[in-house]
Symmetry: C2
Subunit: 647 residues, 2 copies
Amino acid sequence: MGRLEGRTVDPAALEMLKHAEEQGLETAWDRCRAQEPLCGFGNLGVCCRICLQGPCRIDPFGEGATRGICGAQDYSIVARNLIRSIAGGTAAHSDHGRHVALTLLAHLDGHAPDYRIADPAKAEAVARRIGLDPAGKTPQEITREVTLAALRDFSRLEEEPCTWVTSTVTPGMTEKFEECAIMPSNINGAIAEVMHRSTMGVDADPVNLIFGGLKSALADYAGCHLSTDLTDILFGTPRPVRSYANLGVIDPEKVNITVHGHIPLLSEIVVDVAREMEDEARAAGAAGINVVGICCTANEVLMRKGIPLATNFIAQELAIMTGAVDAIIVDLQCIMPALKTLCECFHTRLITTIPFSKIPGAYHVDFREEKAKESARRIVKLAIEAYRERDPAKVHVPQVKNEVVAGFSLEAMLEIFASVNREKPIRALVDAIEEGEIRGIALFAGCTNTKARHDDGHLTIARELARNDVFIVATGCAAGAMAKAGYMTSGAVKEFAGPGLTRFLERLGKASGFEGGLPLAFHMGSCVDNSRPVDLAVLIAKEMGSDVADIPFVATAPEAMHEKAVSIGAWAVTLGFPTHVGVIPPVYGSSLVTEVVTKIAEDVFGGYFILETDPLKAAQKLIEALNYRNWRRKYSRASLDEAMVAE
Amino acid sequence: MGRLEGRTVDPAALEMLKHAEEQGLETAWDRCRAQEPLCGFGNLGVCCRICLQGPCRIDPFGEGATRGICGAQDYSIVARNLIRSIAGGTAAHSDHGRHVALTLLAHLDGHAPDYRIADPAKAEAVARRIGLDPAGKTPQEITREVTLAALRDFSRLEEEPCTWVTSTVTPGMTEKFEECAIMPSNINGAIAEVMHRSTMGVDADPVNLIFGGLKSALADYAGCHLSTDLTDILFGTPRPVRSYANLGVIDPEKVNITVHGHIPLLSEIVVDVAREMEDEARAAGAAGINVVGICCTANEVLMRKGIPLATNFIAQELAIMTGAVDAIIVDLQCIMPALKTLCECFHTRLITTIPFSKIPGAYHVDFREEKAKESARRIVKLAIEAYRERDPAKVHVPQVKNEVVAGFSLEAMLEIFASVNREKPIRALVDAIEEGEIRGIALFAGCTNTKARHDDGHLTIARELARNDVFIVATGCAAGAMAKAGYMTSGAVKEFAGPGLTRFLERLGKASGFEGGLPLAFHMGSCVDNSRPVDLAVLIAKEMGSDVADIPFVATAPEAMHEKAVSIGAWAVTLGFPTHVGVIPPVYGSSLVTEVVTKIAEDVFGGYFILETDPLKAAQKLIEALNYRNWRRKYSRASLDEAMVAE
């Protein structure tokens, strides 16, 4: 394998990496090499910079210091660092949700006229789920009540549980979280509690610290879930949609606007406004305006508007290097500050839009919900202006793109399932599991990371699981990887699915009349939308009369990178999912913490971490986890039958 | 200077350090040496462990990597790390305040019968200050309203400013904070915002990041201030009280109970209960029960109950090494986990009391406000039980202690000032400043730290400033240092004060009939009580018709250690104080961030950091800062006079 081939399995990315080398352009992979050797202390999690006495570090070989200056041992240091990561992830996801909530409120108060309540039915469904009575109320009234309830999950002072936890999991899970004292009552409060207990001289007990982290992780889950719910109400619940993915979606004939980041409050409007401004682009000599996406903003506008996905996280620089991106509009999270210097090598305008998310030297168009369209127009204008400066000699767009069918909200999936079981749609899936037609379900989530071969983990594990009849759902940059590789097409079913999964997908596709056939991997949204697969799991668990911890449903983040991935992983385990992570988080510095997260967690929550960097081995471990749960279910069913016979 | 002499200037601590070496007992200083050389990257703030790609580090010599894998430059990395420290500090202080608020509410609801509203007058004063009308209401009703208002500072969803900021600073300062968009509206929200904006790929702009940090710092200030106010209401506003300080307060004849940590909810009750249980101690053969304090719990019970102070932060282990401490009760913050192994070398019971602040292997008595006395009794019983196991051969208590007069709440100080100006007590101080009798005021705050010679910074700078006629107030472990050294006595005035300061203190002492004379340094409380000196500064500023940024009032934390010190320092600068820090925080890795905090901050807020490890040089710089403000005030007064004459 060549050096560059070792960096990515994405042919478009590979072509651009070669181009980058030829042009002398720096990428994240180059900067990664410049950081080597990575600090062993940091990598193991045994570096503590929490007070001004250190930095302290524990010698993993037992030759140097075994305790920090305050006496903190490896397990306290590792646990404190870990839960601060979870708090970072929680803050990111929940703030995303809070911003959507505030935009909804502003709209309802008449201050954000460019928005509308796109999905009143979702508002009503959420209202019912959280125990509000929507009868006789207008969509506006219902939405306001739902939004205020969501904001209460950020501001509650009493020790009552977060609505977006209790209303979305099984009663058994709620009870477990209460029992373990990890039920959050206030999302921001849970973050603050983690920060407090991890300061110098507070909590030194690793298990206690980790439980505090799990409380924050459940707050993250609440933040994710309410974010998805409110975004669906505001912009519509996704329905199946066809588009294209990979760098080939960049059209050299058009003004190319890339939306990048996570929160679709502005990018949704940019898509609309761009359609209105086609003439201006044509006046500048372009064939029109082409909006494409990167990272999770891409997933948001792909899911709801069919906007093509250019690439996922780690390859964001490569999009700019095509020389045909006229503006890259960023909101927040996962935006490489490196984009700035890179854009300076081209005509590309880097435009930041959020007051608390700036990059020195970038254009900043302050996005205000009350003037959303105006902000969007300014941005599109900047892109058209930049297009005039584009240097055709620098344009290099790889001709690689694949068809993708996306838009599989839970609602959309249930509609498909309903084609074989109108009364209980979820039975379509449950029957297939119980009859062994499919082995179980796997959620592919998380990022991409220079520590892993780009997209390889996602795709290798997906192929292995598909071959073993595992039903695949995906979110975030994992979904981006599959979309780019063409795994979100029915062609991939033919290529990779085992006989049971093929039968299942073909039967469902036929019954539902799904145009072009169902895909191998179902795109459920951005990383904040990981609540959708949880809803699926909870529905299955309820139908099977058990908890998520009992059903054959696993999660994998083969190339986790962000603190958000750490918090999602933590709540996935807490909710009961065996959860693979393909990049080792900084826990190996403490055997105790490692044991807790990979083994003891299972005894308490049913879920646990599988830490495995080899994608093939990871796939094997995930299949074993599914097999074990299937075996256990059958075994307990058999015991039950036996017991009943005995009576 | 001998090796051990280089570690501390406290004779009791020095004696114990020698004893520790003889006995082969490990101290924080030993562990500090084991950590050397400290990691240069961490020390400079250029190590980033925020995502799972790194750890990344910037080579300070420009030979290695100049950007992280994502492209983050030194200034983004340093700023992100710095503001996460501020968020940690904010979480600690504000959670302290929130717990006091919840205890008050529980008491008002009848669930915490062991407490009482000790200071209804304070409740009324706070109510008036925050704009509530106390007329015709019972102390309970007023306290409830005040407490709910405090909790609103944690839960507000609207963009209205925190009550405990706007109601405690000048209108000019409020305006400045609004202008700079750093006014917090919700303490927990400000913490979450820092955590979000500092995650991978959000804010990369160092100035923007720092302003986010300052918003959290102001939230910290609000948390501190409401904590002080509510604690005064619950346990009484301190009034002058005499006691003793340093390890000699440990009485080998008695059962010694050490209270350590910060939040006095339990320790106040322990003090009461211990008095009731003297007989049980005597039955066990002891001469009685002796409660002493460490760290800020010590300051709390010294200020309000005259309980002796055993020692400050860095020397906490030395107290256990006396072999005469039967139980050490810890609540939260600044508790060395090292205490556990150390207590195992003695009969000492280490008792943790807060559910989210545990140490593996320690006794844990779950403190519940509804059963405060019951918890306290269990703890005192454990101490008496331990006393029976005490090994007299291991007892080694240094015969070092000094008298201390403490209890100088702002209210107490104003009463003294009123003796020379009944109508406008604060004029006593303002007149002395304006007439040049005193050069200004200095707040000594912050911790102790193995990086500095223990107590030396506090005492050296205090002597220099006193000699230069600076009025000294102190909090936290700085106050502990002065108390132990005898600087909180009138004897110290004779020994160290310059002629102006001597005259001022003697005049005031005489006029107020203060028994034994006023001390050189005024103990204003624990580190969370730093709002008291701010109130003093604001009162002076208002009387002088200006803002804190204009008056000769400086702050110094010669041996800062905790994240709380970072957040206090940040708000001190934001409020307008020239603020010395004697331990270099991890900012030197970015010249830009260093410039911002040490220079540019002054242009915006009037306050700025003075980073100086040499106490004598630091004293000189503080004096210069006072001189400059005095000169500027006179100069502008002169210009004003001139202008008026010209008219």
